[in-house]
Subunit: 213 residues, 2 copies
């Protein structure tokens, strides 16, 4: 069965998945980049976003797994861009330039309809206004038997968590304090939702945890 | 300068320092013991509470550090015992038997006065009704230049954190889900309180983090 998976999602030691004051200048909020220090140097990340070879090891293993067998993505609107409210025009096409790192259909949750955008590298952004269940149905259909990756952000993951729709979740705890921002698990009873930690391994840069129902 | 230190304090991956339904039968709440799986096998713990030699390594290093240069302890009342409200009599003398593992003066925060209890092994329990600042003053005086260890529980640590009185804090994140219970950092902005992660190292059983102002 195709799964809904969260992968390579980083939180601070005090539980925040993004810092305060998110916006165009700091999409991850104040201090948010420090959550990803385990990920940036990896081969998987560097081959997509960088220019070098990147590292191997535990962090790379999780980075590579995060793209394995993914047939479609779901993103919250704030992860797609900093624009709130109705789309002013068609200019904003995501943070990622002409060739986004998805290479699949990507379903963006929004309250405001918009025509799909076909990007280079087989990424197509679809805008879903019918809610999280509809987005999941469309993503599963598009994934053709492969899994669907839920990219975030925090608010979107929390919605899917509460609805019990996430099958597997890889969280990386970074050894940094954020203090405020968007908390991933606050007020969500993971045990009542039947999640258990089924795998855990640490690198010097992060503690990797895999939760599964 | 003598410090106020929290040491070897374990939380779940979702941030709880104790599970739900704490009481005489499960002082750490449901699932709470699983937080301490990194600690129990260590030499330091086994030499105090067990019968064997115990392990060495990263976990043992942190277990041993937790007792180094400690001249007095502060405990919340719920950590001293399960009794709530006024003391019915003098019968309850803590969870630890005749020879508790403190071997110093221990200042127990309570709203209900009680005479000190002198135990074996140089542990004396003092009951402080004048609040957290008074307890810290008395503990520092008793520690004679050595540090004061704040043993917990969660509510007591949160009080001292918010008051900005904790100098150093070693937290161990265990790879377990608790789902509910007492959350250590919820609603506390560690960054605003000037805490930074100054040291981190992981074992297969826990991620050890040291926070300092």
């Amino acid at each position: 069965m195709a799964k809904l998976r969260v992968q390579a999602f980083s939180i601070s030691l005090d539980g925040f998945g993004a810092g305060p004051d998110q916006g165009l200048q700091q999409p991850l909020g104040a201090g948010g980049e420090s959550l990803h220090e385990w990920l940036i140097p990896t081969r998987t990340f560097q081959q997509t976003h960088g220019d070098g070879d990147g590292t191997s090891g535990v962090n790379e293993d999780f980075a590579a797994r995060s793209f394995e067998n993914i047939g479609a993505w779901i993103l919250g609107r704030n992860m797609f861009g900093p624009i709130r409210g109705a789309w002013p025009d068609e200019a904003w096409q995501g943070w990622w330039g002409d060739n986004p790192p998805y290479h699949t259909d990507v379903f963006v949750l929004t309250h405001y309809p918009r025509a799909p955008i076909r990007m280079d590298g087989d990424t197509t952004f679809h805008f879903v206004t019918e809610g999280i269940h509809a987005a999941l149905e469309r993503a599963k259909a598009a994934a053709k038997g492969r899994d669907v990756r839920l990219g975030g952000g925090v608010a979107t993951i929390r919605q899917y968590l509460r609805a019990g729709l996430i099958d597997e979740m890889h969280v990386a705890i970074a050894p940094v304090v954020l203090g405020s921002g968007e908390h991933l698990f606050n007020g969500i009873d993971l045990l009542k939702l039947d999640y258990r930690c089924v795998e855990h391994v640490s690198s010097p840069e992060a503690m990797h945890l895999v939760l599964r129902k």
